[in-house]
């Protein structure tokens, strides 16, 4: 099937500046956390030469890990705030499969990614499949933050108490922290692939949207124009 192009598009602004700030803070901090975290887990080089010149490589990378960890936690806090205070598309009600419309959309998304249908769902916010996975990622991020803080401050009474209730000993928390690390690596691989794949197969230009906050919506879509005009035009 050849798509009808040129087609008329509206450029609609969906993602608030705050959400984009959250996205890139999370992206960069996660990237640093994974790299430094893997070094902490298994330092591949033993710096034999450091006998001559101090490097403090483990101490430094741990420091970066903790610094990035704070950015990561702040990013999650911002996202949590947007769950309630964000625009229509940033709230969980829009992208979790909790009603009939979203459930239908979820099934459609899965079919689309399995090449069972060519019909791309042009949707203003997240597609439901993406939204659900992002939500799972958010939960995993919270667990990363909590286990991370527990590993960092295990002697602080409040954190010690909460950590013991939630995860058990620091060693158990460390195992959870490490296993979920692989979920983040897995997520990044799939996320980047899907983003690029969508740029090939769908017209909404989601990659540039991650910077500009906009999406391209086909004008011939059944979605009424008034709906489109309701969208906050903030930049």
């Amino acid at each position: 099937m050849i798509r009808k192009e040129p087609r008329l598009y509206y450029r609609v602004f969906v993602w608030s500046g705050t959400l984009r700030l959250f996205h890139w803070t999370l992206a960069f901090s996660t990237f640093i956390l994974i790299l430094t975290g893997i070094y902490i887990h298994y330092p591949p080089i033993t710096t034999k030469w450091a006998e001559f010149k101090p490097l403090y490589i483990m101490a430094t990378l741990r420091y970066w890990h903790f610094a990035a960890g704070y950015f990561f936690i702040c990013a999650l806090a911002v996202r949590f705030y947007l769950f309630f205070a964000g625009n229509q598309y940033e709230r969980p009600t829009d992208f979790l499969p909790i009603n009939k419309r979203n459930l239908k959309s979820l099934i459609h998304n899965i079919k689309f990614y399995l090449y069972l249908t060519d019909e791309h769902e042009c949707r203003m916010g997240h597609t439901v499949l993406a939204g659900t996975i992002y939500f799972v990622l958010f939960i995993c991020g919270v667990i990363m933050g909590l286990t991370g803080l527990y590993l960092l401050y295990p002697e602080t009474p409040l954190i010690a108490k909460a950590g013991h209730q939630l995860f058990g000993t620091p060693q158990q928390a460390r195992l959870i922290h490490y296993l979920l690390n692989w979920f983040f690596i897995f997520f990044i691989m799939v996320h980047l692939y899907i983003a690029v794949w969508n740029d090939f197969n769908a017209p909404d230009a989601i990659i540039s949207g991650a910077f500009s906050g906009s999406k391209m919506m086909p004008a011939d879509l059944e979605c009424p124009i008034e709906e489109l005009e309701k969208i906050p035009f903030e930049k």
Partner: protein, 367 residues
């Protein structure tokens, strides 16, 4: 002669006064107290009413008692003759059989609410607790009889505190620590496999001096001994920060005293003062001797800290009778799998595109 028992002991040279004072001073230092409390401690310890101690043995290897016998500061003689009155200890007492049973009964009932009950070993609870019986009574029965009458209970060793090796999965005898069975009495856990006798001693002296147990952490361990990670006070820590690691036992790094992190040292997640107190009065301790910490003061360490020479535990996967995977293997498999799926997905997509393009050009040509 008008002299009380301990004075005769001191005068007779059984234990020199010097040794005895030294013992008190060391106990104070272990507790992190100022030297000013030493006289008070000495007074408490010299009081004719030395606290009776009843020492119970259940599922254990007697390693904790063995460690106690090797206590050097002060030695065992000072401890049991001057500091405490060890009224019942199965491996250290002369009595046996019926006489021993009587001793226990008398010691408990003469000192209700006054004695310190020390429990060494886990307590099996499965099938009515039949897996550990002494004199026809189960460990549970003995504990329930003795512990509620104690002033305080000290669970010595990881078995007494958390169940220990017999509580490791699948825990066939349903072994638990004292704190899981006894409520309403102060319980102090001194875990370790074996624990440092100095920590035990300092706890006893603290109870003697102040009449209350020391400050405890989340797991009921005294904070003076279990308040810091091994890693925080480890002599190899500069090597850790510097990224200098032992790769294999016996390699050049090992000979140079590098950090044992990569050969499975659990110091970063283990709470104990081993690196500070050390053992046997000769400054020895595992990491100092070139072996990583095995995390023996943490609950469930047989399950969570093994394999000993790996950083993290294996994960049990219930496939084909169960396999134990190292966590990173799982990660690599997951990520490798994801890469394969992505590649296949992309290939199908490209293939489909080429196919549909060809179809449509064919259709055009037909027209």
């Amino acid at each position: 002669m008008g002299k009380k028992g301990h004075e005769i002991e001191l005068a007779g040279g059984g234990v020199s006064r010097r040794t005895f004072l030294k013992g008190c001073a060391i106990a104070a230092a272990t507790l992190g107290l100022s030297p000013e409390v030493v006289p008070r401690m000495v007074k408490a310890a010299m009081s004719p009413k030395r606290p009776p101690v009843i020492w119970l043995h259940f599922q254990e290897c007697t390693g904790c008692s063995e460690a106690l016998l090797r206590a050097a500061r002060p030695d065992i003689a000072t401890l049991i003759l001057d500091l405490i009155s060890l009224d019942y200890h199965e491996t250290l007492m002369a009595a046996a059989g019926k006489q021993a049973e009587e001793n226990l009964h008398n010691a408990v009932n003469k000192n209700v609410g006054k004695f310190i009950c020390v429990v060494e070993g886990g307590i099996p609870t499965k099938d009515g607790g039949i897996y550990c019986k002494i004199g026809g009574k189960t460990a549970m029965e003995i504990l329930n009889e003795v512990a509620p009458k104690a002033k305080a209970i000290i669970a010595i060793g990881t078995c007494g505190a958390f169940g220990g090796v017999q509580a490791a999965k699948p825990n066939p005898t349903g072994a638990v620590g004292v704190q899981d069975l006894i409520k309403g009495r102060p319980i102090i856990n001194i875990p370790g496999c074996p624990p440092n006798p100095e920590n035990f001693l300092a706890t006893v002296v603290q109870i003697l001096t102040y009449g209350r147990p020391p400050e405890l952490d989340e797991l009921g361990r005294p904070k003076f001994a279990y308040g810091r990670k091994i890693h925080d006070h480890c002599e190899r820590r500069p090597h850790f920060d510097e990224g200098r690691f032992v790769e294999r036992f016996g390699d050049p790094g090992h000979k140079k005293g590098y950090c044992l992190y990569k050969v499975g040292c659990k110091g970063p997640v283990t709470y104990s003062n081993c690196s500070v107190e050390r053992f046997c009065n000769i400054g020895a301790w595992p990491v100092g001797a070139g072996h990583g910490c095995i995390g023996c003061t943490e609950p469930g360490f047989w399950d969570t800290m093994t394999p000993i020479y790996k950083h993290l535990p294996g994960i049990y996967i219930p496939v084909g009778g169960g396999i134990r995977e190292q966590a990173e293997e799982i990660g690599k498999v997951a990520v490798g799998g994801a890469a394969a799926v992505i590649a296949a997905h992309a290939a199908v997509g490209i293939g489909k595109k080429i196919f549909s393009l060809r179809c449509s050009t064919e259709k055009k040509e037909e027209k």
